[in-house]
């Protein structure tokens, strides 16, 4: 009898513990699947490129599984370094132009949008819902030497021969700005929209000029939006490969083009992985800087 009682109590105890454990783990059915998914299909592939970036290929293109820093040493070589420098320059330039144009646009929509506000915002969002390959093709058609812009300028007599916009660094910048500017306008718009108007009134009451009010009140308070926009424009620009491929030509190649060449054309997976890893490191550095300068808000504003 005694043994049964003990066993009974033990099971009871166990059941209690199991129940406690289950209530403590109640979140698992909801977040478990997604966590597993992220580990397998997001973290693992990123780990894999890090691993493969340390390998090399043999004479027949087979992957040799011995560690080497060969690929990374190649990155410092003049050719690669130049491409990386150009990538940073293009992405940074595009980001700054997007900011300089995007801020006034967002400001205009918030302050003067009135009943057109929603429409104006949607006109900024909608292009980003179109396949960007198509948008780039449209931009290419327009700026082509026999395209609309050149024909118009020629027939107006403003130029005597077609402007060669395509296949220049300017074309790449234009493409980057055209593709990513909506993502600069939107977070800044959200930040400006959330600005407490009484703070602006207070600044006026205290005698601030419009310019001073902008730089001491509006701008610091919309910092989060600016850095969120920077994350959303700078980072995809760094990884861009279609814009330089379609508009820039071989002379204006960016780091993303090296990745695609090594992976798809040359079949040198380790070299492609080392460039992708270097790009990721660059991206992490920029996110870190943006979060440090823009605060937590920068990341919150992205979503």
């Amino acid at each position: 009898m005694q043994t049964f009682k003990v066993m009974g109590r033990a099971t009871e105890n166990l059941r209690e513990k199991a129940k406690k454990f289950l209530t403590k783990q109640a979140h698992l059915p909801y977040v478990g699947p997604i966590s597993l998914w992220i580990i397998v299909f997001v973290f693992a592939p990123l780990g894999v490129i890090l691993y493969f970036s340390l390998l090399t290929i043999g004479p027949y293109g087979q992957i040799i599984h011995t560690f080497t820093l060969e690929n990374y040493l190649a990155l410092v070589k003049v050719g690669f370094a130049k491409v990386f420098l150009r990538t940073i320059l293009f992405a940074f330039g595009a980001n700054m132009v997007c900011l300089l144009i995007g801020y006034p646009i967002a400001y205009f929509i918030v302050r003067h949008g009135g009943r057109w506000k929603t429409l104006l915002v949607f006109l900024v969002i909608l292009p980003s819902w179109t396949c960007y390959l198509i948008r780039l093709f449209a931009l290419k058609t327009l700026t082509d030497s026999s395209g609309l812009i050149n024909s118009a300028l020629l027939s107006l007599g403003l130029i005597s021969s077609p402007l060669g916009i395509l296949y220049t660094p300017y074309a790449v910048m234009l493409g980057l700005i055209y593709t990513w500017i909506p993502f600069m306008v939107l977070p800044i718009y959200a930040a400006l929209e959330g600005l407490d108007p009484s703070l602006l009134e207070a600044a006026v009451d205290l005698g601030a000029t419009p310019l001073r009010r902008f730089f001491t009140v509006t701008l610091p308070l919309t910092k989060g939006g600016i850095f969120a926009g920077t994350i959303l424009v700078f980072i995809p620009s760094l990884g861009e490969w279609l814009v330089p491929l379609l508009l820039g030509g071989a002379k204006n190649m960016m780091a993303g083009n090296l990745v695609s060449i090594y992976f798809i054309k040359a079949g040198n997976i380790p070299a492609g992985c080392s460039i992708a890893t270097a790009l990721t490191a660059l991206v992490i550095l920029i996110i870190y800087l943006c979060m440090k300068l823009g605060g937590e808000e920068a990341l919150e504003r992205i979503v």
Binding site: V31, P33, I34, I38, A138, P182, S260, I269
Partner: protein, 263 residues
């Protein structure tokens, strides 16, 4: 003082230029899709023959079917997974919650080209998933879940959770509460995220291109292959018109769903 007077004029000019810059290429593309010019670069009279051409083109039709199939599967899986994850993140405090939140965002903060390459190596060298539909759909789901999670989380912050408590108090079990209370409350956000995910998956080029392998052609991949011949401008113009009008259809659909929600 005079400089202040011109500011109100500078701003509207900039705004006009900005919207022209953003929309002119798309509008020109749509107009040229009706042009008789065989390179599709200038106006030479109205025609519908390019539309007839893509309508009768088996390549285009197969690519469209593939794209629609991939986007549909992605929408269903990603919205379910995303809604569950958002619920878990919102309702429970657990270890690693913040880390999970950031990790979910990871796929959309890393450049596409890096993810594309990483998945290609992972599929072909490590887990040996066949390239094509399975690989593409897995990739698209990874990318779409963040959208669903954060759209649904946004809605969760605004709904009245006492309704859920009331249901439990009145003896409703977990499943009934989900079905009768939680799901209907979240439905607008779930549909909104579906409306965002569908075009995202339908439009994706970079990642799909890397993991598609040889046999699978989605509509953007078809466009890319046509682009490389350089002689199919009109065909791309017509397909492009479909892509440009897609967001408007999505928008109308979202608007319709919202109206339905109110009544």
């Amino acid at each position: 003082m005079r400089s202040w007077k011109i500011t109100p004029k500078v701003l509207p000019t900039l705004v006009t230029l900005f919207y022209t810059f953003l929309w002119a290429p798309a509008i020109v593309l749509i107009v040229l899709s009706f042009s008789n010019n065989k390179y599709g670069i200038k106006w030479e009279g109205f025609t519908l023959r390019w539309y007839a051409h893509i309508y009768n083109n088996v390549g285009v039709r197969n690519a469209l079917t593939s794209s629609l199939f991939i986007a549909s599967v992605t929408v269903v899986v990603a919205t379910i997974a995303g809604t569950l994850a958002a619920y878990g993140l919102y309702k429970y405090k657990f270890r690693g919650r913040k880390f999970l939140r950031t990790s979910i965002l990871l796929p959309i903060t890393i450049p596409y080209i890096v993810t594309a390459g990483a998945l290609l190596v992972f599929y072909t060298q490590v887990i040996h998933i066949p390239l094509g539909y399975p690989g593409i759909i897995i990739a698209h789901i990874s990318f779409s879940v963040p959208l669903a999670v954060f759209v649904v989380l946004g809605r969760m912050a605004r709904i009245d959770w006492t309704l859920e408590e009331a249901s439990t108090d009145l003896g409703g079990d977990r499943l009934t509460t989900w079905r009768k209370i939680t799901l209907p409350l979240l439905l607008p956000a779930i549909l909104a995220s579906a409306a965002l995910i569908f075009p995202w998956s339908f439009n994706d080029f970079t990642i799909t291109y890397f993991v598609a392998g040889l046999g699978t052609t989605t509509l953007p991949i078809y466009v890319f292959s046509q682009l490389q011949y350089g002689t199919s401008g009109p065909v791309i113009n017509t397909i492009g018109t479909i892509f440009i009008t897609l967001p408007f259809i999505t928008l109308l659909l979202m608007n319709f769903l919202q109206k339905k929600e109110v009544t």
